[in-house]
Amino acid sequence: MTASASPINLRIQESGDRVLTLAIEGRLDSANTGKIWRKATKMVAGAANVMLDASKIDYCDGSGIALLVQLRNQRHKAGGVFEIRGLRPEFQQLLEDWDPGDLTRFTDQTSRRAGFAEEVGKGVVEVWQDARTLVIFVGELSGALVHAAFHPRSVRWRDAMRVAEVAGVNALPIVALVSFLMGLIMAFQAAIPLRQFGAEIFVANLIALSMLRELGPLMTAIILAGRSGSAFAAELGTMKVREEIDALKTMGLDPVRFLVVTRVVAAVFMTPLLTVFANLLGLMGGSVVMLSLGFPLITYFHQIQYAVTYGSLLGGLLKAFVFGILVAAIGCLRGLQTETGATAVGESTTSAVVSGIILIAITDGIFSVVYYYLGV
């Protein structure tokens, strides 16, 4: 890329006691200047006074001018004399036009790094502000959801249906695949130790309880966070960057009511439904292992009926319901928090997934404790 028809040449014409005379010949352009930059600055650094013969410079652009400026500044800083002779008038004009006087203050600039205490402080403030925003958002969202409950006609159901299709129906294959394989793998892993005690039949209890109470809702919510929470953040984030959110606000439309409620409502209805499918497919995965162990399906079915109660099933679905709200809400919040710039949407998307999974894990823990004390 840097090849040029007429090359550049830097040579020492005369090296006297007091004055070093240099000559630059050829094209001093962006392609060529780099070839002599280091050599030239090094030579000038070692001399007291410098005279530069520029009469054989055929062409000089911004990069070439930058070299002349650099050499001159370097010498002036050291207190020596730097003289350019024979520079063509048009290049001389360029040298003056670039007004290099102020440039020296930029060249030594280094950016200041924040200290440890400052970093920690900033981090704490950020966490505090994030928590505060979250509380405010929860308030706004609750208000909007209550309003929607009392005024169902105010909800944009067409948008909600579209989101429900994308976040719910289209997620069915991945949810089904993951749950089926999870049921199958768990059953297989459990069957090996249980066989030693002749207790293979209890594989059914394990699969049924763990899928219905824990893994069904949990896996569905995590898949939802990865698939739809991120999509919500990206969609709303792009709208924020393109000033569409501002447009909504200036039209007098509340973005939370207009955009967030539809998504949360869709997710809230879809997550329990997807969880039911996840539970079913998980049990089917387990049934494959049970069949291979020689148990008929009816035995497996009866064992499940014996092991689980409606409490387990509904407890799991309640979790799914809450996870759905959390994932959709945090996705939308991160989208609305998007700042400007191309990277901002990416950051919001990542943050939506990470925050979503953290919230799911914390809430699942709280549910476990509450269910334990309630005896569910």
Partner: protein
């Protein structure tokens, strides 16, 4: 940069036809842009100004005809030959298109880092000089999102000038800017054209801007799918035979006087 003859054609557009999905937008255009001039492409919305520009800078291939830069056909060139042509010009996009993840200084340094073997301190100095030249010396370490629209356009001009091209394409130079900022950008273009002998191809429909900067203009028309006027803007305003052209210039000129 120096000693070019005034009539040296740097861009040649020959029998150029542009089409989108089989629909012709511009038909059989012929004109030349001379080295050292500020050449303006103007016309109403949807007349194909930006389409023409995007063909000139090689983003689209012509449906028919040729566009050459320094005698080389950009649409036909590939690989190293294409890179060689691309190095001859810089482009300022309508929105500035500064990379949002980099500071202003890093934006301007990027072409220098990629295409020259200058040491880092030289790149830093050159990038600062370019920014200084467009009046952004003090904000080099800011992110593009922290800059106003006018500053972003200035930054984009500095980035386009990073490798000192002879030719700069500016898309919608003054769109979305206030008159004062717009006039400042016009002065910047004039001073760059004068001091660096850069050839400018500017797409705009702002008449104050055109009368300030343009040596020559071409005016495109949506219905005729081609050029309806070419020449010096003052001459066209006062002496054009085409009533549509006179109307375009005088109507906007009168609103300019009124404003």
């Amino acid at each position: 940069m120096a000693g070019e003859s005034k009539r040296e054609a740097i861009v040649q557009v020959m029998d150029f036809t542009a089409a989108y999905n089989g629909q012709v937008v511009l038909e059989r255009l012929n004109f030349e842009i001379y080295a050292g001039e500020v050449f303006t492409i103007l016309g109403g919305s949807g007349c194909g100004k930006s389409t023409l520009l995007k063909h000139m800078i090689g983003l689209y291939k012509p449906a028919a005809g040729r566009i050459t830069i320094d005698g080389e056909d950009i649409a036909a060139a590939e690989g190293a030959a294409r890179m060689h042509i691309l190095r001859k010009f810089g482009v300022m996009y309508q929105s500035g298109a500064l990379f949002g993840s980099m500071t202003l200084l890093e934006n301007v340094s990027l072409p220098l880092e990629e295409f020259t073997d200058l040491p880092p301190e030289a790149i830093r100095l050159i990038a600062h000089m370019k920014l200084q030249r467009v009046g952004l010396g003090g904000v080099a370490d800011r992110m593009p999102s922290e800059l106003s629209g006018g500053m972003q356009k200035r930054g984009a001009i500095a980035r386009a000038m990073a490798l000192d091209p002879r030719l700069l394409f500016l898309d919608e130079l003054s769109a979305g800017l206030d008159p004062v900022t717009s006039a400042e950008l016009d002065q910047l273009v004039l001073s760059l054209a004068r001091s660096l002998k850069i050839t400018f191809v500017v797409v705009t429909h702002e008449l104050p801007s055109i009368f300030t900067i343009a040596d020559r203009v071409i005016m495109l028309d949506k219905n005729k799918k081609g050029i309806i006027a070419m020449g010096n803007p003052q001459d066209l305003r006062d002496h054009s035979d085409d009533p549509a052209v006179r109307r375009f210039f005088s109507r906007q000129a009168s609103s300019e006087n009124g404003g």
